[in-house]
């Protein structure tokens, strides 16, 4: 089993604390290790985790799976940007080939740049997706990591709708879902749009069922 990154002095009042969903992603990438190493191991892929939070998932990938990639992680939450960079430096002190950028999804990253995209979205169904706070000190930053509007899918669909232009020709996206997001319907819809979609891992976590789907462009 690959080691879990060390987390230290994180501000869990303002940053999402790693939970079952984060650990499911770590296990997902442990399962995908051989596949990813074969596909990208010789080169240097560009890897982006959206909503990197504590930085645990990106640190894990950098240390254990794809040490030769370059990472551009994003988070809307300024507290998370600081936390993630601290976690990544703590775990990879002399090879932190990463920048963490404060942004929504991948809106400031050049199209067709990202080879591996990872997203643990705000997947909890809610009346609406919260607005981005305008102040640094605001108790609502954490809500952005959780609340995903209708079916918990509003933010995820925003990403899926533009996925084709975000990732590179040989790119992949790993996205986490809970059962209430109806991942089977998402898979069907994306397959209609010519994506190859595979369920990599699924697990019951308390009263939730979490899964990770992998999206690849279909080769013509």
């Amino acid at each position: 089993m690959l080691p879990t990154p060390i987390l230290k002095d994180l501000d869990y009042d303002n940053v999402y604390e790693p939970s079952e969903d984060s650990f499911l992603l770590l296990d997902c990438f442990e399962d995908e290790n051989t596949f990813l190493s074969q596909k990208f191991g010789i080169g240097s892929p560009i890897i982006t985790e959206i909503g990197t939070g504590s930085g645990i998932v990106t640190s894990f990938l950098m240390k254990n799976i794809l040490p030769n990639g370059f990472y551009v992680a994003t988070d809307v939450n300024p507290h998370a940007c600081v936390s993630s960079i601290n976690t990544i430096r703590l775990n990879n002190p002399d090879s932190a080939k990463i920048d963490v950028c404060q942004m929504s999804l991948t809106t400031a990253i050049l199209p067709h740049t990202i080879d591996i995209l990872i997203f643990n979205p705000p997947y909890v169904p809610a009346e609406e997706v919260p607005e981005i706070p305008q102040q640094y000190r605001d108790s609502r930053w954490l809500d952005l990591a959780l609340l995903g509007g209708s079916d918990g899918m509003e933010v995820t669909w925003q990403l899926l709708d533009s996925l084709d232009s975000i990732i590179s020709e040989t790119g992949l996206a790993y996205i986490l879902f809970c059962a209430r997001n109806k991942p089977d319907l998402v898979k069907l819809e994306m397959e209609k749009r010519m994506w190859v979609v595979d369920k990599i891992i699924e697990r019951k976590a308390g009263w939730e069922v979490l899964s990770v789907l992998r999206f690849m462009k279909r080769k013509n």
Partner: protein
């Protein structure tokens, strides 16, 4: 924000996505610090060089006061060759060790200004530009 990242980021404003002036951003009033702890991995630089937009790289380097880069992208560098290794080491210093700690990034299409603070670039837009 490492220098290499300037090659991957553009203006976040939707209406700028079709403009060729939204990339690269223009870098102003930047404070650059060399992070020498970052280890040199020549193969990594060779692989990244393949992906980089050299014209954009030269332009941003000029913004930051570095004007001695060749106008053509160095091709076919071999880390075993002494001269090539020196070029790769210089590129490592520029791409990975050079860190923009504070500064401004300006879109030359819409003129929106983004800020870099404590090495973290902020691309969030005010609500009226989202």
């Amino acid at each position: 924000m490492k220098f290499i990242t300037t090659n991957f980021v553009k203006c976040a404003v939707k209406t700028c996505s079709s403009s060729d002036k939204a990339f690269p951003l223009k870098y102003e009033e930047c404070q650059v610090v060399l992070d020498e702890q970052q280890e040199f991995n020549p193969e990594f630089i060779v692989h990244m060089l393949d992906k980089l937009n050299w014209d954009a790289l030269v332009k941003v380097a000029r913004d930051l006061g570095k004007t001695d880069l060749p106008t053509q992208k160095p091709e076919g560098l071999d880390p075993i060759m002494e001269d090539d290794a020196a070029v790769l080491r210089d590129l490592h210093s520029l791409l990975i060790q050079s860190n923009i700690v504070e500064g401004k990034m300006v879109c030359e299409n819409c003129e929106h200004i983004y800020f870099i603070k404590n090495s973290i670039p902020n691309f969030l837009l005010p609500p009226h530009l989202c």
